[in-house]
Symmetry: C2
Subunit: 144 residues, 2 copies
Amino acid sequence: MGRDEFIDACKQVGLNVTYQRIAIFNKLMEHTDHPSADDIYKEVRQDYPTISLATVYKTLETLAKHDLISKVTYLHDIARYDGTSEAHHHLVCIKCKKIIDIDSNALDAIGIPAGVPGNFRILNYRVQFDGICESCESASTEQE
Amino acid sequence: MGRDEFIDACKQVGLNVTYQRIAIFNKLMEHTDHPSADDIYKEVRQDYPTISLATVYKTLETLAKHDLISKVTYLHDIARYDGTSEAHHHLVCIKCKKIIDIDSNALDAIGIPAGVPGNFRILNYRVQFDGICESCESASTEQE
DNA sequence: GTGCATGCAAACCGTTTGCACAATA
DNA sequence: TATTGTGCAAACGGTTTGCATGCAC
């Protein structure tokens, strides 16, 4: 998505178009990696020295909420532990944050896909399924 | 792994066997879900009221480092953002923390595996490959 | 007895929030 | 002008650290 498309997209979802939002979005699009809020802040501040870190956070959250960008943090932001040391796969309920192990031979048979660059030595992999668990599903029949 | 095996394993990797470590490990093994350090702390404290949260953190980290348990936090603990709003898959370098997108049709074709309970509504999924990127690989020929 | 482990409190860091001011539509 | 966004600073929550005491070996 380019600058003009971004402006259009903002208008479509009812967001004011501010130079901060444009600057943050542009910086994000310049990255092929996945910068943190602080990374973005440091870069944008070179062009707009008065911008605040709080604005960067708020803007990124706002844009992500409207699906103009995406937030790339798997699972939750607090550490979780598991009694086994083997990597396995998880179901994560996006509502109640419950984590359910899955043990599937089908998944383990995925193997290394074609898209992976050969110079990256893969040690392990894991699949995370995001969804809604049974109890949250039934609870949300009424809820927002 | 049971209590006795755990004690043996500690000895094998050169860790002192303390009642705190045993208590923390036991609590963790009682869980089928993935408790946080604080969850474990609250439970262990019922049996050992003098235990501290710092000990729980240190113990979990120590046990994870020696592969007696595993830490289940995908990616990093700080939020990362991405200019696209589509879910995709990632290579994560465990050394330099770099995140590389992969775009593989093979992965997208995984589908829902057999091990997934039918009452969990899956909205999305993503695969994370952990490994070592090219530059860290060559750098680590010398390093610790 | 030596060295590793624990417990406490304070520090730390990423993130969020409240509120006054400023900019957008 | 009404509403939404920004910037500052303070608060927050999970996690880590320094250090003195205590325990395992």
